[in-house]
């Protein structure tokens, strides 16, 4: 029962992080280039899994 419970909790956490945002794919310098073209700023989110 404990293993099943731990797995359920892990699934909930992972499932919740999997959805949602489209992050820029490439280097931060390329992101800056795109920001210049579009007249925007770059928001860098520093993320650490776990």
């Amino acid at each position: 029962m404990k293993k099943k419970l731990a797995f359920s909790l892990l699934f909930i956490i992972l499932a919740s992080s999997a959805a949602g945002q489209n992050w820029f794919k490439g280097t931060v310098d390329k992101a800056l280039d795109q920001a210049k073209n579009e007249g925007k700023m770059v928001l860098v989110d520093f993320f650490s899994p776990g």
Binding site: S8, S17, A31, L32, V42, L43, V44, F46
Partner: protein, 447 residues
């Protein structure tokens, strides 16, 4: 949490996409680590906003719900309010502006740039030694820039390589009426629980706990020091028992663990088990089961956050499989979510076959499914058994209702009359069932 509550929330997507290119630097991934190093990031979550020329506009370190508060912080950045960039420009133009210097110090402090933060806080003290040039808000408390700069310098000193507690001691002596005095003691408490000589720590903790005798954290820091020193155990037990008493309605497992540790050091295993044994942990698990049920019920009623609500419903069922209250209420939530098959899975024939000697559970089951007009054959069997084991007017009434839903009008009437017969002065409550059955039968005959 920031990712789940903010970035992944469609509510904030328009704001994000219209103002930013979103870039995520992930620790442990090659490109991500390079970005961490390039910008000298020391903590997560950190959000850094860059101009398209690569200059640093602003940053925000840390996150706490609600996400709307985080949006407010980013909106200020977009509007250029108190950003790092603006403060730096103002500082260059007016290097004696205490408010600007203080806010710039805070910016560097947030980013763990101790050297720059220390230098700027010291400038605040030099320019405003008497604390007359303005105040800041610290957790809803108004504190002068000067006082808060001294507090921050003491904190930076405490967490520096030198681990120097003297500045905080000086702060406590200088500001005995400070609004943030308790916070200062708390920082010193976190220091002395593991550092300083035993005599110095004991002297500090006796002062701290006499000043804040009902603060569990203060008492617990002292307990941790006693456990570390393995000395003065009776005093430790006295403090730990006091924490237990203060938190009796919601005991913290970590505090109870400390109490058990003290009793173990005193070689009193029975007392250790009493504090932190099987009964304690089973109580924690049981409470969690009820909390999960309450959480799910709240969100199902709101018709929102349903994915999370369902996940917690599943966990609650796993934790409290023997609780009729939890199982029945979660079955009801599944009905509200239009998932009757899930309700049947946890509170259906498989469930009730293990409860056939419990009259009240059988009644509750029968009544639930009669109200849902589903699973009626199983409900009928349960209702009959319930009455057989321990007859009572409300159980006869449940049997009557199930029969009514099955259009077994003779049987329904018979049971309804038994309910009335056995109800004594409550008979009027059950009489309307008889009328209901007769009306239903008449209506059926007309068809």
């Amino acid at each position: 949490m920031l990712v789940q509550q903010f970035y992944n929330n469609p509510k904030f997507h328009d704001f994000l996409h219209s103002n930013f290119i979103l870039y995520q630097a992930t620790r442990g991934v090659d490109e991500g680590d390079k970005v961490y190093e390039r910008f000298g990031i020391r903590a997560t979550p950190t959000v850094l906003v860059l101009g398209s020329d690569g200059s640093e506009i602003d940053w925000h370190v840390g996150y706490g719900p609600p996400p709307e508060k985080f949006l407010e912080r980013l909106e200020k950045t977009v509007k250029g309010i108190d950003t790092f960039k603006l403060l730096s420009e103002k500082y260059a133009q007016g290097p004696k502006n205490v408010e600007v210097i203080f806010k710039l110090a805070e910016k560097y402090d947030d980013r763990y740039d101790e050297e720059k933060a220390t230098s700027l806080y010291n400038e605040v003290l030099a320019l405003d030694p008497d604390g007359k040039k303005g105040t800041t808000d610290y957790r809803d408390k108004e504190v002068t820039y000067t006082e808060y700069a001294e507090f921050s310098l003491a904190r930076l000193s405490l967490y520096s390589r030198k681990r120097d507690a003297e500045p905080f001691k000086a702060f406590i002596r200088k500001y005995p009426e400070s609004q943030i005095l308790e916070e200062a003691y708390m920082y010193l408490g976190s220091y002395y629980r593991y550092a300083g000589s035993k005599e110095e720590a004991t002297q500090f903790f006796e002062e701290y706990t006499s000043k804040y005798p009902e603060n569990p954290r203060a008492l617990n820091y002292y307990v941790l020091r006693i456990i570390r020193d393995k000395d003065n155990l009776d005093r430790g037990i006295e403090l730990a028992e006091k924490i237990k008493d203060i938190m009796r309605y919601n005991p913290s497992p970590s505090y109870m663990k400390n109490l058990a540790e003290l009793y173990t050091l005193k070689e009193d295993t029975d007392k250790a088990k009493e504090a932190y044994g099987k009964d304690f942990m089973e109580g924690q698990v049981s409470s969690l089961g009820y909390d999960l049920r309450d959480y799910a019920e709240f969100w199902v009623k709101q018709k929102s956050n349903l994915e999370s609500a369902e996940a917690m419903m599943e966990l609650a069922v796993q934790l409290k499989p023997d609780s009729l209250y939890v199982i029945r209420s979660i079955a009801d939530m599944y009905i509200q979510l239009e998932k009757p098959e899930k309700a049947l899975k946890i509170f259906g024939p498989e469930y009730i076959k293990n409860q056939m000697d419990d009259s009240n559970t059988l009644y509750s089951y029968a009544r639930f499914w009669a109200d849902q007009e589903k699973n009626l054959n199983s409900a009928l069997e349960a209702a009959k058994k319930s009455v057989e084991l321990a007859p009572a007017p409300f159980k006869w009434d449940a049997l009557s209702l199930v029969n009514l839903k099955l259009k077994r009008y003779d049987e329904a009437l018979e049971a309804a009359k038994k309910a009335v017969e056995t109800a004594g002065d409550q008979a009027a409550r059950y009489e309307k069932r008889i009328k209901e059955i007769e009306e239903a039968r008449a209506k059926d005959k007309k068809k």
